[in-house]
């Protein structure tokens, strides 16, 4: 198994605050890698540095052997990285089917194409692809409804369908279960587990909820005060005294 995402010496300062200082972070292809840490540990900053929303002050970010540092979010997506947001970001005014057709179009036609003459609803390639993705994720029966009217759980599933329709190499999930009930959380875990089996794609999950991380991830990195203080399998992390300390207070490690 090769390394698909490799981060070295990435740091970011906001004024006087050293928000992030990650010496080394590697993700192996085909694995589920979790990033956990207490509030304010720099998890979201780290993700934003990977996805192109923030440009780190120093360091390198290599995806699939190429540097993606300084690229715009849409360019990083075109390279094969999809992102699920903390609160689902979907096209609320459009139908569920259109929501999935748009990422498929972006995947096929690139970042910009004035494709104004043909009809979208007769584009069977895009349409069938979108429908089959919706079937995978269990939303196909509602595909002509407006996306904005769905429940939060369904919006989350739709957002994942949108990402999966692009067949990304790497899927980044920012707190996929934030604000969910225990039942919804478990449903999301099952959904993500199912995806791992059928698609075999690499995932990086940023999560607050230990339960989710320990039941999903193959490897876990622990962030505290912008630094990775521990990395290993779920069992190693569970027994690591540093992690316990970071979570229970007294972060001076």
């Amino acid at each position: 198994m090769s390394t698909i995402l490799s981060v070295t010496d990435v740091s970011k300062r906001f004024g006087g605050l050293q928000a992030l200082d990650v010496k080394k972070f590697d993700v192996t292809e085909g694995t589920v890698h979790g990033i956990i840490g207490p509030n304010g540990a720099g998890k979201s900053t780290f993700l934003n540095c990977l996805i192109g929303k923030l440009i780190p002050d120093t360091g390198t970010v290599n995806f699939n052997g190429k540097s993606v540092l300084g690229l715009k979010p849409h360019e990083i997506n075109q390279a094969g990285v999809s992102r699920v947001f903390q609160t689902p970001e979907i096209f609320s005014d459009l139908t569920i089917l259109e929501n999935v057709m748009i990422p498929s179009l972006a995947h096929r036609d690139g970042a910009f194409k004035v494709n104004w003459w043909p009809r979208l609803d007769t584009d069977s390639e895009i349409r069938n692809h979108a429908i089959s993705t919706l079937e995978d994720i269990g939303l196909a029966d509602k595909m002509h409804n407006h996306a904005g009217a769905m429940s939060r759980g369904d919006k989350r599933r739709l957002e994942m369908a949108m990402c999966l329709s692009q067949s990304p190499k790497l899927l980044l999930l920012d707190e996929p279960t934030a604000g969910m009930s225990r039942a919804d959380t478990n449903a999301t875990i099952d959904l993500l587990k199912g995806l791992s089996k059928s698609h075999g794609l690499t995932k990086v999950i940023i999560e607050h909820d230990m339960h989710v991380v320990f039941s999903l991830c193959d490897r876990i990195s622990v962030l505290a005060q912008g630094q990775i203080i521990a990395e290993g399998t779920p069992d190693e992390i569970r027994g690591n005294p540093k992690v316990q300390e970071a979570y229970l207070g007294g972060v001076e490690v």
């Binding site: 849409h74 970001e89 609320s92 748009i102 972006a106 036609d109 043909p118 609803d121 007769t122």
Partner: protein, 399 residues
Amino acid sequence: MLGLKFSDFALFMLVVLCVALAPILLNPFPASSELAQFNAGYPDLLQRFVIFGVFAVGFNILFGLTGYLSFGHAAFLGIGSYAAIWMMKLLTMNVIPAIILSVIVAGVFSLLVGYISLRRSGIYFSILTLAFAEMSYALAYSVLTPITGGETGLQPKLSDPRILDAELSAGESPAANLFGIGMRDSYIVNFGDWVFTFNAGYYIAGLFLLVAFYLSIRIFRSPFGTMLRAVKSNQNRMSYTGLNTKPYTLAAFVISGMYAGLAGGLLVAMDSQVGPERMFWTASGEVVLMTILGGAGTLIGPVLGAGAIKYMENILSKINETVLKGWFEFLPDAASEWVVLFLNMFTGKSWHLTLGLIFMLVVIFLPGGLVEGGQRIARLFGIGKKRNQTVESDSAASK
């Protein structure tokens, strides 16, 4: 049919029919009757209906699809007009080169304005476009007077070169034409007490409206149009979906600018004159009103809105105090005086008050514009589909 799904094709055919029969449909009252002043089937107004229809259809591609509210679209209309009049002065009175150049020049100018204005969104975008339009207006009035004719505007003159046209014979004045068909040529039919005027200029402009409307349907239903709706819905999601939103908004801006240029060229083709007031900010505001009144984001809405506003502007404003007095003669003097005084606030010179009231009512009670009003009436009588069924049938038709 024509590459459109059935419902769109039916709508398009309805518009074709309305444009073809407008001189009859809009002249329902006999010429000698009291109500003849409500007739809108005369060439000058009909031409305005279709030309401002083109303008609003183009504006709707920007505002209705991407949600970017431009307050400076009259600048593109004005610039298209100036380009057209110069073609008429230098090249030929044939309208085709004039219209082609007006579209190109407006497109280039909107590329420039759009590139700068689209760096911001929301109210800042609106203000930037307004600033550009006001700048164009001020320039046309002052430093650009050699090109724009300043306050007096431009008209074709006998002394203009017009290198492609033959010499005019004595006493003949240059008239806009399409390969010899004069824009003012009309075919008048007297049918009983009715007078129907079939004007060549109107039908030529109408043809342009139909082409513009057809292209707008294609854009609405295409992948490109769907991307523009995605811009309106969630730009953040779009960029994380691998789409570069900036060129999409710029393309929509340029397309709508070219539509505005086409409308400007057509205006010149019809009346062969242009002045800077065409670029004034009220003209930019008018197209916003037309689009919202008819229904932004709908296909037919802008055309309806343009028609409604131009009808009020031309018909309502003609009902002055004298006309009102004539209507209410039968009332006792005191009562008639009060009624006339009251109604006079809404008609004649003050027709804007009626427009304002109607606009308020539409925005408050029919956020989807006149189109939504039509849909509600249709549902009331059990015609037409319920809202959630519409989408279903769309997909069925495409299979």
